[in-house]
């Protein structure tokens, strides 16, 4: 398979082959699931909602509840107002969420539905809330949709009522519940008071109890989202997924925004913890210092196993940027770096990192996996890092694949464990060096096959 990919780069004029992104609404749905007792609502055809739930179900291996406006021809011609109003009424009556987070689709955007107006006209029971985000599928990517919905939370709920709460807002970015849990653990270790949103831990990694909870115990509470307007500072992790909401909080509630990279690897985690420490006056705890020391210890133990290896990295921009930076810390050579999300800033940021490291690499935003495969055919790499969709290239070119990012459809457990923080760094090092050594062992000639590596 995949013999269709020629090594020579032929200019393409529009066609996307094997995408490295998907559309906005699924990101919005994921973000909304990180609000406590929230039902995401897809304002469009049934298929959209079904596909998003299916895709998220495959990645998290957990039930994904979301409702849809179930557009028909009538709605497409006369507008989706009636559908949305009926839907909101039905959803509150039947599924009883505390809050509904409406996102649009390419269809409802194109016919020009005004969601704010429809929500104003709808009967929202007292004590319940409806927030929304415009998420046209033909702009940006799933990461943009995530960002828009997080911004929608601020827009719809956060208020500065002049009662400073002394807390730090944390927007963790489009990461797994395992990562969100880890970020919270680090903050708790520093005894920092914080509001994190969205927070899918306890929602999409909820334990099996023998009962189906449509709204598991996790998720950021509505009161917290409101109170986020009273916080001291907002730490937005990853500019693509989190910056817009932080800026909105600045505009709306004068909360100071601080945009950081996702804390992947040593330096980014250092920066994150120091930023938290500066913002709160809390010391970085001994527990975290110990963890940092462990990672350095491991890096010294194992550096000969992965150093100088060439890596192709693809996925969502925030994750890929942070991951590239970590690979450079490890002395690896991330010479192909690609995201499906269109952006000019991405290439600049990655190119600068590669330049500083003296690496001549290829960097592309708005790219697809056909392009990545062509690069690899032209000059191979030792390791591929990205989503499950990388497995075709990995198989065709016999390159080990370390699965990180979204979506991972063919392996379990990944969403429970972090790649952020020092613990995440340790896990990434283990995955990277194991992948390389497993291949080495598998392919070693008998005389080269060694017990101790």
């Amino acid at each position: 398979m995949w013999d269709y990919t020629p090594p020579e780069i032929i200019p393409r004029n529009g066609i996307v082959i094997n995408p490295a992104k998907t559309c906005q609404p699924i990101g919005a749905m994921y973000a909304a699931l990180g609000v406590h007792r929230c039902l995401p609502h897809s304002h469009g055809s049934q298929g959209c909602c079904s596909y998003h739930r299916m895709h998220l179900s495959r990645h998290f291996r957990d039930p994904i509840a979301a409702s849809t406006s179930s557009f028909t021809e009538g709605a497409a011609v006369f507008g989706g107002g009636a559908n949305l109003k009926t839907a909101l009424k039905n959803v509150f009556a039947i599924y009883n969420p505390d809050i509904i987070a409406v996102h649009t689709t390419c269809l409802s955007e194109t016919i020009g539905d005004d969601i704010q107006v429809y929500i104003n006209q709808a009967q929202v029971p007292p004590g319940k809330a409806v927030i929304y985000a415009n998420t046209p599928s033909y702009v940006g990517s799933h990461v943009t949709g995530f960002s828009n919905m997080v911004k929608g939370m601020v827009k719809g709920l956060s208020v500065n009522n002049n009662h400073p709460n002394g807390k730090v807002n944390i927007i963790p970015g489009f990461v797994n519940p395992g990562d969100m849990r880890e970020i919270k653990r680090m903050l708790k270790a520093m005894e920092v008071r914080f509001i994190m949103f969205p927070d899918t831990s306890g929602v999409l990694d909820a334990p099996l109890t023998g009962k189906y909870e449509m709204y598991p115990a996790g998720g950021t509470k509505i009161e917290e989202l409101i109170d986020a307007g009273n916080s001291t500072v907002t730490l937005a992790l990853g500019s693509f997924a989190s910056e817009d909401a932080a800026q909105e909080l600045r505009k709306k509630a004068k909360v100071r925004p601080l945009i950081l990279r996702n804390p992947i690897g040593i330096r980014a985690t250092d920066n994150f913890l120091m930023a938290v420490s500066r913002a709160t006056g809390q010391e970085i705890s001994a527990e975290l210092e110990e963890e940092r020391g462990q990672v350095i210890d491991v890096m010294v133990d194992l550096h000969d196993q992965y150093q100088d290896k060439k890596v192709a990295v693809f996925g969502d921009p925030d994750i890929v940027i942070a991951l590239t930076s970590f690979l450079l810390e490890l002395g690896m050579v991330p010479n192909y770096v690609l995201t499906g999300t269109p952006s000019e800033a991405f290439a600049k940021e990655v190119e600068q990192m590669l330049d500083e490291a003296g690496i001549k690499g290829r960097v592309k935003a708005g790219g697809d996996l056909f392009t990545l495969h062509q690069w690899i055919k032209e000059a191979p790499v030792d390791l591929l890092m990205g989503t499950s969709y990388g497995k075709y290239i990995a198989k065709a070119e016999n390159i080990p694949l370390v699965r990180v990012g979204f979506p991972i459809l063919d392996r379990g457990v990944h969403s429970y464990l972090p790649i952020v923080g020092y613990k995440g760094a340790l896990r990434l090092i283990e995955m990277i060096s194991n992948a390389l050594l497993d291949k080495q062992d598998r392919e070693a000639a008998d005389e080269d096959f060694e017990l101790i590596l």
Partner: protein, 460 residues
Amino acid sequence: MDMAINQTDFSFIPEREKSIRTKGQQMQAIQCQADSVAGCVSQRACVYCGARVVLNPITDAVHLVHGPIGCASYTWDIRGSLSSGADLYRHSFSTDLREEDIIFGGERKLMRCIDELAERYHPPVMLVYSTCIVGVIGDDLEAVCRLASKRHRIKVIPVQSSGFSGNKSDGYRIACEVLLRMIASQERILYQPFHLNYLGDYNLAGEAWIICGYLQEIGINVNVAFTGDSRCESLLTAPGAALNIVQCAGSMGYLAKRMEEIYGIPFLNVSFLGLEDTMQSLRRIADFFANPYIIKRCEALIERELAQYGPIVKQYRQHLKGKKAAVFVGGGFKAISLIKQFRELGMEVVMVGTQTGRQEEYDAISQLVAEGTVILDDANPSELERFMLEQGADLLVGGVKERPLAYKLGLSFIDHNHERKHPLSGFTGAANFAREVEQTVCSPVWKYLDGPIHTGRINP
């Protein structure tokens, strides 16, 4: 029909009541094939989804999705249909419409994309799927495809599958229309008395290969399976067949009817799920050809296969007897087969539902099931949960969205959809199915739900 609403404690959307019945109560037909209620957490999909799943297994076609990226991303290689050669269908092609295309129209971009794909891959056929937005911005897909066909001298066929224009069943019908276009030929059709077409098998986990093998062995040639492991060229051989057999009637019943009208090919509804249905179906096919040689070979094959796989099924039956199953699948026909197949395993189906079942299928289901069985159309997760628990199901059969729900409830699960891992068709498939059911129902994992320490007090 002897079904009625279960009157006890109804906490559902009122509109949904008509779509849920319990066998053994009042006379009232189930409501099905209706649009979902707005605001439902429906397990259903859209027109595009229906058309795409039917056509996607055509292995040497370029499947080009005209729309924003999502519709292509979510359907990239998810069907699990196997190919004996070509693998172009496992790539994802999208015009990735952007904002400017929405404003100025997407036709020119579509044409450029078709040109690039035709020049790069030289496929014999290109299927161009329209998505919701194409229906709204008014791109003339038909015209672009006509022009492209001329320019590249290949079939470029529009699939008018805007998501909102109906439900998944409408997508099936649209796909069937496309297939009719693909098999139409100017050439004279040569009638082949011992050839048939196999409709409604998508070669998941290689299932069509198993059935084609049986037919080959008893002296019947299969021109083409629709659409599992089919190619543009093999589809062209369809009109010459003497018979169409239909496995998935939900998706392909329409094609069978149309081919009967156009080509005079009669059809038989068959099912290769379970020992009994497989045996019956093979006999009915052999009887159709009314050839002593075929009938003899057919009996010999049945005898051999039963001897091999019957004891395996029987062995699993010992562990499964008395367990209760819940079924929630796409079409009604599969549900009917599954009810019978569970009976072979000594299991009773206590809840059965479909996404797109038709009235006559629900009639057949209610004939088949025991008193008290809950029957429901287009169910949502809360309904599935409630009835599975009320009815004391041990196992759910469903698709990707139902799996985690069953697991959360501590129930075992079988994927009888795109994510099946082993072929579930034919005699060997019946044995695989029995093994899968046994493996999950009797897994040691369920023992740990209860223990000295709580499983999962939630601590966010």
